[in-house]
């Protein structure tokens, strides 16, 4: 019998080594897998490369991971926020490396990794400083920039419901990067609000099929 559910957040992240690359879902706090991030902080893996749309808010979740100085490099599209003070301070003191990626390029580079593509030509960023030093090509009269896939060792995502095979459905705009990140990592860990029996998810509406998910952890209900 296949059962991808894991008993705790701690068990789900126990094998993550120093230097790992981790895709972290979420857009702001919507879909942010905070339970997995907190377990990763406690697990003490360091020298990490993190991929997320943002660079943490206030002092919790991703911001707390940054504050604990476990992150060597972050790839994101929009680090600057009104409450991104942890990132701002690390960036200004040179303690974290930033690769700024336009949000659509972040998405399609992650998609390319999951789809097994060698690279992609994207029109986004052409003629800007974010394309400096990159190969460009004119195709059918339009200019494109060559961008590389973003592969990862792990993906942390949040979904609404899972079954023991790892099939996932999401909730509202908390879906965001979850489905594409699940495909791009060697090991995808989903924290979910509810684990349902096999067969309870309508196969017509499964968003992420279980092949893309290796571990499932149930979130604790809010106190």
């Amino acid at each position: 019998m296949i059962d991808k559910t894991v008993a705790s957040f701690d068990a789900a992240v126990a094998d993550i080594p120093d230097g790992a690359t981790i895709l972290i879902g979420g857009f702001g706090n919507a879909g942010m897998p905070s339970g997995l991030i907190d377990a990763l902080i406690a697990q003490r893996a360091k020298d990490l490369t993190i991929v997320n749309n943002n660079a943490g808010n206030a002092e919790t979740g991703l911001a707390a991971l940054l504050k604990a100085k476990r992150v060597r490099k972050i790839l994101c599209s929009f680090p600057r926020q009104t409450d991104s003070r942890v990132f701002d301070s690390l960036y200004r003191s040179g303690e974290i490396e930033l690769e700024l990626v336009p949000q659509g390029n972040l998405a399609c580079r992650i998609e390319a990794a999951g789809a097994g593509l060698g690279a992609i030509f994207t029109p986004t960023g052409y003629g800007t400083r974010l394309a400096n030093g990159k190969e460009t090509r004119e195709i059918n009269g339009r200019n494109y920039v060559l961008e590389m896939p973003i592969h990862a060792d792990y993906a942390f995502i949040q979904a609404e419901k899972a079954d023991r095979w790892g099939n996932l459905v999401y909730r509202k705009a908390a879906r965001n990067f979850g489905p594409i990140m699940a495909r791009a990592a060697r090991c995808t860990i989903a924290q979910v609000r509810e684990i349902v029996p096999l067969g309870a998810l309508d196969p017509e509406v499964v968003v992420t099929p279980g092949i893309f998910v290796q571990r499932v952890v149930r979130m604790r209900p809010p106190c």
């Binding site: 336009p102 994207t122 029109p123 705009a173 489905p179 594409i180």
Partner: protein, 216 residues
């Protein structure tokens, strides 16, 4: 007497150019105001980069849902018939030319329609680009909405942008507090000006050549 358009009046003016059935992305900041001026009896599809089509207005107090936010991370609602999708689909809608138009704020727009709206280029500024570059290259029409000059009176419509570019030759129309200007293959064409303003006076506040648009 010259009376510049207020921010709400600018937003109302942009809204007048958005037809029923259009798929539209409104950028963060000033462009978000346009949503308040879309006629309630028209069906216009608002897209949000974080995976929403058919985005509705802010919820009533107490009805906020942390899983339902817009690109600016503010709580929003979903209209009946709206849909959720992941980031791959969302940016395919943008980059793939499926959005009819987007409305973006700007630091500068050049005579050729180059857009600078993501970074001041100052050494200590933390850069953040979000989805601006994808919208600028991907939407079928790109509207820019901004004050005509900076707070210190510097023109924001320029021959060449001095700030880092968001995209080259992407802007179709500029809405300012003083005028509506089209970017055409032979330069900037003034579609309309606020009352009390002459083309000469508008030109003084603009660092690229303007001409009046024929056949308005």
């Amino acid at each position: 007497m010259l009376r510049p358009r207020s921010r709400e009046e600018m937003a109302a003016r942009v809204a007048r150019d958005i037809p029923e059935g259009a798929y539209v992305n409104l950028g963060i900041g000033l462009p978000t105001l346009v949503g308040n001026h879309l006629p309630k009896d028209l069906e216009i599809f608002l897209h949000s980069e974080n995976g929403i089509l058919g985005m509705g207005p802010a919820p009533a107090k107490g009805e906020e849902d942390p899983d339902l936010i817009n690109a600016g991370k503010q709580p929003v609602t979903l209209l009946t018939g709206g849909a959720y999708f992941h980031h791959g689909d969302s940016f395919a809608m943008m980059r793939g030319g499926h959005l009819d138009l987007c409305v973006l704020g700007a630091f500068q727009v050049s005579a050729a329609g180059d857009l600078a709206n993501w970074h001041t280029g100052e050494p200590h500024a933390i850069p953040a680009v979000g989805g601006a570059m994808d919208l600028a290259v991907g939407a079928r029409r790109v509207f820019v909405m901004m004050e005509h000059t900076t707070k210190t009176g510097e023109p924001k419509i320029v021959e060449r942008c001095s700030y880092p570019l968001t995209a080259v030759q992407c802007v179709d129309r500029i809405y300012t507090d003083l005028a509506v200007i089209d970017v055409t293959s032979d330069g900037l064409a003034v579609v309309e000006m606020v009352q009390g303003l002459t083309l000469e006076e508008l030109q003084k506040r603009t660092a690229a050549p303007l001409r009046e648009k024929e056949n308005r």
